[in-house]
Symmetry: C2
Subunit: 166 residues, 2 copies
Amino acid sequence: MATAIQTDEEGPVRSPGGSAANPSLRLWLRLLSCTTIAEKRLRRRLAEQFDTTLPRFDVLAALEREPAGLAMSELSQRLLVSNGNVTAVVQQLARLGHVSVSKPEHDRRSSIVSMTDQGRAHFDMVAREHHGWIEQMFAGVRAADRDQLYALLAVVRTSLDQSEEC
Amino acid sequence: MATAIQTDEEGPVRSPGGSAANPSLRLWLRLLSCTTIAEKRLRRRLAEQFDTTLPRFDVLAALEREPAGLAMSELSQRLLVSNGNVTAVVQQLARLGHVSVSKPEHDRRSSIVSMTDQGRAHFDMVAREHHGWIEQMFAGVRAADRDQLYALLAVVRTSLDQSEEC
DNA sequence: CGTTGACGTTTCAAGCTTAAAGTTTTAACC
DNA sequence: GGTTAAAACTTTAAGCTTGAAACGTCAACG
């Protein structure tokens, strides 16, 4: 449950007194509903058209620009998920032949994950479509609005980072 | 894996040619990273401070304003999740005594889910904190920026809805 | 009354996700 | 060389999530 309420202006809210009395909550619900709708659509299409999943796509996207591969913990940090999650998804990708996992000589605790040729072929194909889906979803947003949103979300991001240290 | 890249300006992107060449993709990644960071924080705090989960909170939030309760499929629609998911979460909440499930006389296919007194007491306590967490996360966003973001996200939402019909 | 299609929910298999425990390895220290 | 704490990853249990199949129920129709 991605915590998205179907109609954030009219639906139930997570606070006594309703979201009309709480603009931050309203903003949060709208942010969440936009992201959830887009994400579920991407997930559905990846499954239907390429028989893959968003987490697998994310791992390949992270590896795409790293010919030397990445360590498991580096993947975990970049993708903002737990080590255990990375382990499971990488194992799936290895089973599919899309990545290979090796142990560096200098530190046998580590594992280095690299994209295989097969993985790259798959990723290139999927990424092209993914790219188009994103364009399509944001097609109704004017360039000026898009750029302004981008800037405003940087403010949100800063606010989030600062509030974490409280 | 919530598909959030840690540093969307610098990190790997899901498209050949990089996100710098693709402002919609950059916007998407930033939208996603902001939402993911906030969501994971809420999930973590709900688990640590109240021993509950975001989906359970969502169900209670949906029920909070419905003294007569809601049908399972109504919950599914409002929360934008599958019927199967609602079944599992409601069963957990029933086990905890936070909701009760009854069968209406007029349609024995349906189940009506209502919040119990115990559930309401729990929800009121949690919602108060949740409210404060949201305020804190968005504290660094000026009111004018927040309102503008809210309006711009409505444009995004419309774009998403329109592109679905393609 | 029997048939049939649709409804509403539950069950299922598969994948994702977390936090914590477990295991192996490394490196600092004495 | 032995001890110890930390690193890096894997495993585990628990919860969430989807889409489809299964099941019981409802209502329209002949």
